[in-house]
């Protein structure tokens, strides 16, 4: 079997050129492995080989980032690698910045598996956490023995196209992408032991750090609703009978746009719900209960609203990812604006 070709990036310190006083050195390429490459080699065995090591001074990279990156990328490209690894940089900030920047560029430009490693508080983490796998390391080079095998293993898995497990299994820093895995103990036992630690003021790790939520400020009130075109948008799943767009009962992947021109009342014969999160009997019986077309038609005739928009939008808000909902909303809003809709009644269930 062909060995994977690996290019490794390290800084001047790990190449034994020197410390801070030599951080200004420009990039150079050496054949084969240098320094920490040895720890990677042990893990690679017969499957991969470090064909070249690119070395660059941390200050040089930090102070001439654009140029340094170009030079480094040219050196990497020449080797036609299958795998790229940078670091580990531990808690060295400028090294971390360089390692993360190069790793991200390699992944994006060359499209090959690219992995780096550093301590969770290294500022380099913010550069590429969402873009590449960053293996979690200790905060000093003493962590090399555990970090190098994890990085090599992860890179090999990526190169072979194998499934990547959860961060806790593979050893990379949590990147916000949630991934399931089977833990050693059942959840209730994990909860009891987490509570015991919390009570004893011992460190514990939550399995889900709380996210920061978007808060939407309500718009000011509509100036004159009797002159405004009003549209209906619902996450209650009201669709024409038969659910023509096959909107899912949960975790919806789409929304539907439906014409209600000439419709004064939603009936059991014409409309129904696709929503899987509630008893559909009453919604199917009279879909106006979720999407109040009947009342709005009355209001329209009585001049209480300017006009009911002839299209309504519907999706299912049951187990539907926030990212999907956001995507639907952006598109729906665009269409509503194009039709000069001035107010929207959003109904949920």
């Amino acid at each position: 079997m062909k060995k994977f070709r690996v290019v490794h990036y390290i800084n001047q310190f790990f190449a034994q050129i020197g410390g801070e006083e030599m951080a200004h050195v420009p990039p150079e390429k050496r054949e084969g492995l240098v320094g920490p490459g040895l720890a990677l080699k042990q893990q690679f065995g017969d499957e991969a080989e470090i064909v070249a090591t690119v070395v660059c001074g941390d200050s040089y990279f930090g102070e001439n980032t654009k140029q340094a990156l170009e030079e480094v990328m040219a050196m990497i490209k020449e080797e036609k690698p299958d795998i790229f690894i940078a670091g580990p940089a531990f808690n060295a900030g400028r090294y971390g910045f360089a390692a993360a920047t190069v790793t991200k560029a390699v992944k994006e430009e060359l499209g090959i598996p690219a992995v780096t490693g550093m301590y969770e508080e290294n500022p380099g983490v913010d550069v590429a956490l969402k873009d590449v796998y960053i293996v979690a390391t200790g905060n000093s080079a003493a962590g090399m023995r555990t970090a190098a095998p994890l990085m090599a293993k992860l890179a090999l898995k990526l190169a072979k196209g194998e499934a990547i497990g959860a961060s806790i299994e593979e050893g990379f820093l949590p990147n916000g992408i949630r991934k399931n895995f089977f833990d050693k103990e059942r959840g209730s036992a994990r909860a009891v032991s987490m509570l015991e630690k919390k009570l004893a003021d011992k460190p514990f790790t939550t399995e889900y750090p709380m996210p920061n939520f978007d808060r939407v400020k309500p718009n000011p009130a509509v100036a004159d609703i009797t002159k405004t075109k009003v549209a209906l948008v619902t996450s209650g799943g009201i669709v024409p009978k038969g659910n023509p767009d096959h909107i899912e009962s949960s975790s919806a992947s789409k929304f539907g746009e439906y014409d209600i021109t000439g419709v004064d009342d939603l009936t059991a014969e014409t409309f129904e719900t696709a929503h899987g999160g509630y008893d559909p009997v009453y919604a199917n019986d009279d879909a106006d209960r979720v999407l109040p077309v009947d009342i709005l038609r009355e209001y329209e005739k009585a001049g209480k609203i300017g006009k009911l928009h002839h299209l309504y939008y519907s999706t299912v808000g049951n187990g539907t990812a926030v990212a999907s909902a956001k995507k639907f909303a952006e598109e729906i809003a665009k269409r509503l604006l194009a039709e000069k809709v001035g107010a929207v009644i959003l109904t949920s269930t």
Binding site: I168, G187, V192, M194, L199, M210, S250, G276
Partner: protein, 426 residues
């Protein structure tokens, strides 16, 4: 309150002329049970099937899973207020048929029922693949409303489980375990130095087929209250739920609540398990505020130091979960919450519909949106007609060869929020 649970291991289920339990084998007279089920004229047709762990069998759409148990000594009977008369259960002796369950299946609501695979990758996600199951497949009378059929199917399952439980009344258990909850005063005296721990058990009560019953009472019409953990072991809480299969607490989950088991395990050693607070998950804001106020008030009243909160369902109940957590934390009582996630199929969305920095200790049952491919099975119990429609499925979930591509949301019990499983996420 002290309860002795006698576990009788059921190695096998067989159809026979006479319903009985002999040497770890449950013999079932199918006609006898079907006749009982058909006493309810809302059910048109019913039959039984048997599944064994490891078989190439798929059960769907699954409604509820129930473990047969029977009161041997002490007041009350199984499923008090529903099958047996109302009387306080949770003391004396109860026999448990371990290693088996009654599974109710068939066309019920169409949306929220689940899948149990007895082998293959799907089997790893549901605890019920590990049991010998007696599956009760029902067909409703034409034209009846979903909620009426739900009730009929729920009662049929409980009736069947109670009937089978009765067969174990005079059997000597393979293993006996004792669970005891002390009074508040006794607890203080016996374990003066151990942290006082409570369990806030959230019950799904959104209504419209999302209901849970306590001693036969619809829990959405109740205030947050106290219950002894052994009462729950005796069937005081039953599921009437048609929420997504992955995180509904089936009756089996209530009977075998893992938080209760694990707190009893640590009781008297590292903590003092004081008791259980049951609270509902209603849809109106006023109800949510009132119920969570009461959770916090009762936790304080019991002088608790720490609390585990478990959830049922997702989305709307996330707000109840966060209210319970934050209000209890603000009383100076430490919390750990158990939930599950809807982070999208790509795992990139925020996982909960509500959040608060005080919820700093979270156990997760996994991301319910993660996609799985379930290979075809040789035998289907129930029907595949609803696979594309059930929560977690999509148009095209069911492929021509009988395999299913869907979110793990479709698998009964896969992301259970009582912490029944080992599944987690990062």
């Amino acid at each position: 309150m002290r309860l002795e649970l006698g576990n009788i291991d059921i190695r096998e289920i067989r159809f026979a002329e006479k319903s009985e339990i002999k040497d770890g084998v449950l013999y079932v007279n199918q006609e006898e049970i079907v006749a009982k089920v058909l006493e309810d004229d809302l059910i048109r047709e019913a039959h039984l099937d048997i599944t064994v762990p490891g078989e190439s069998v798929r059960i769907t759409p699954v409604k509820d899973v129930i473990q047969p148990r029977v009161k041997v000594e002490g007041p009350g009977g199984m499923f008090p207020g529903v099958i047996a008369k109302v009387d306080t259960v949770g003391s004396g002796k109860t026999n448990v048929l371990r290693g088996m369950a009654v599974v109710t299946a068939g066309r019920i609501v169409g949306f929220q029922e689940g899948i149990i695979d007895m082998s293959g990758p799907g089997a790893d996600y549901t605890p019920f693949s590990q049991l010998n199951n007696l599956v009760l497949v029902m067909e409703p009378k034409e034209g009846i409303k979903q909620h009426d059929y739900e009730r009929a199917a729920r009662l049929a399952g409980l009736k069947t489980a109670a009937f089978i439980g009765e067969l174990a009344k005079n059997i000597t258990p393979d293993e006996t375990k004792v669970y005891e909850t002390l009074t508040v005063k006794e607890g203080f005296e016996k374990y003066p130095d151990l942290p006082r721990i409570g369990y806030v058990l959230m019950l799904q009560t959104q209504g419209l087929l999302h209901d849970t019953y306590v001693y036969g009472v619809d829990a959405k019409q109740t205030l947050t209250t106290l219950i002894s953990p052994t009462e729950i072991m005796d069937g005081a809480i039953i599921s009437g739920n048609c929420v997504s299969a992955c995180d509904k607490n089936t009756t089996y989950h209530h009977q075998n609540n893992p938080v209760i088991e694990d707190l009893f395990e640590a009781h008297g050693k590292t903590l003092n398990f004081v008791g259980v607070i049951i609270t509902n998950e209603n849809v109106y804001l006023a109800d949510k505020m009132r119920s969570s106020d009461w959770s916090a008030k009762l936790a304080e009243y019991l002088s608790l130091d720490g609390v585990i909160v478990s959830q049922e369902g997702f989305g709307n109940p996330d707000t109840d979960l966060i209210m319970n957590c934050t209000k209890i934390e603000k009383k100076g009582i430490k919390t750990v919450i158990i939930t599950d996630e809807y982070a999208g199929q790509d795992g990139k969305s925020q996982s909960l519909a509500d959040a608060d920095p005080l919820a700093d200790a979270v156990v997760t049952g996994g991301n319910a949106n993660e996609v799985i491919v379930l290979p075809p099975m040789e035998k289907i119990i129930g029907t595949l007609d609803f696979v594309n429609k059930i929560a977690g499925g999509h148009d095209g979930s069911l492929r021509e060869d009988g395999s299913i591509e869907a979110e793990i949301q479709v698998i009964t019990g896969s992301t259970n929020e009582m912490g029944f499983n080992k599944l987690s996420a990062r």
